[in-house]
């Protein structure tokens, strides 16, 4: 578990470098990777399955990114992508789905393909929920409601 937390930090840092993120945002963005991984692990210990933990972690990552975007005055994407990529993007089930398809084990392949889809769905649902709320908040603010 500690390995996973650490590597989601260093992995996010790696993606920050690849995506040419400014140095002053790097720590916050990489920390997002670690925290998202932590939330995922915590959620996975409460709920079984893939959808709910992924949804929770993605919602957390999007919330973290929106908060930092507000706090640092930069687009939320900068903080969201590094945080999401390592802990949640379903590289593993996608790989095994391909692997077993080639091995002609269609049952296992279909199972991993289903897992891949569930991860993707979880990320999309969790993040969209936060985006929709953040968007509505911006609109309300523009129209003079609340602050």
């Amino acid at each position: 578990m500690i390995v996973q937390l650490l590597t989601s930090f260093t992995g996010a840092l790696g993606f920050c470098l690849v995506f040419h993120l400014r140095r002053r945002y790097m720590f916050a963005a990489s920390l997002g990777g670690l925290l998202t991984c932590g939330v995922y692990l915590a959620a996975a210990s409460i709920w079984s399955g893939i959808l709910l933990p992924t949804l929770t972690a993605a919602a957390f990552a999007a919330l973290y990114a929106e908060f930092l975007a507000w706090f640092m005055g930069a687009p939320a994407t900068l903080f969201l992508i590094p945080a999401l990529l390592i802990p949640l993007v379903p590289g593993r089930p996608l790989y095994y789905a391909m692997y077993y398809a080639v091995q002609q084990d269609m049952d296992l392949s279909a199972d991993f393909a289903r897992q891949t889809a569930l991860y993707a769905l979880g990320i999309a649902l969790g993040a969209s929920l936060v985006w929709a709320l953040a968007d509505m908040r911006r609109h309300l603010k523009q129209n003079g409601f609340g602050n």
Partner: protein
Amino acid sequence: MNADKIPVPAQPEVLLHCLMDIAEALLAVGAEVNRVEDTLTRMGTAYGAVRMNAFVITSSIVVTMTLPSGRDITQTRRILTPGGTDFTVLEALNDLSRRCCADPIPLDELRREVAQITAEAPKPLLVYLGSALAAGSCALFFGGSMTDGLVAALFGLVICRLQRHFGPQCPNRLVFNLLSALAVGISITLCAFFLPELHADKILIGDIMLLIPGLAMTNAVRDTMVGSPISGAMRLIETLLWAGALAMGFMSAFLLMGGIGL
């Protein structure tokens, strides 16, 4: 919002051309379609347009700017490159547009700043380092050993090299993903054959992460859900095709290597 205070520049065509440059640059560095449309609309209005009709999809930009005199100016831009990711440029352009909306700077200065921002390229060494770090970390994250992590990091360097030098030679991203997944799949399987202590699956999973179009997919979902569903759906189809090509490439590699008994 400042329409009554800001005079429209003497050459509105030049202004619109400059706004199109900003929009094109934003798309090229990984901004959401929604953000591009929003930036066009806000900046046009800040510079005195009465109305901005911006329609952006990942392959085209169409803008009609209505001037206070009632005259309409339309410009379109065809976007041919699929777009990469450069968060420094994205952030700088976003910052520039915010500043201009609050207090529009002269047109010459705007053009100079845009040219300056888009000319800023990342240092190659850091991009290579990042690819190695990301791939190595992913391999470890998914349960690989330290050696697996190191080998994945080495292949991360190879993928980075491919993305920088082989990518631009390919007709499109689909072909690039297919061919690079094939090449990387074959090389890693061979490596694991000669060094049996390696876990080919963990190394491959680490390196797949570098090729998965994560940002484009996230933007596609974001545009579909809270932006413009049409543009989002177009990008979603594109990214699914890229991911499919990736899967095809790796599967072909497994088939080939399985065929010769590795």
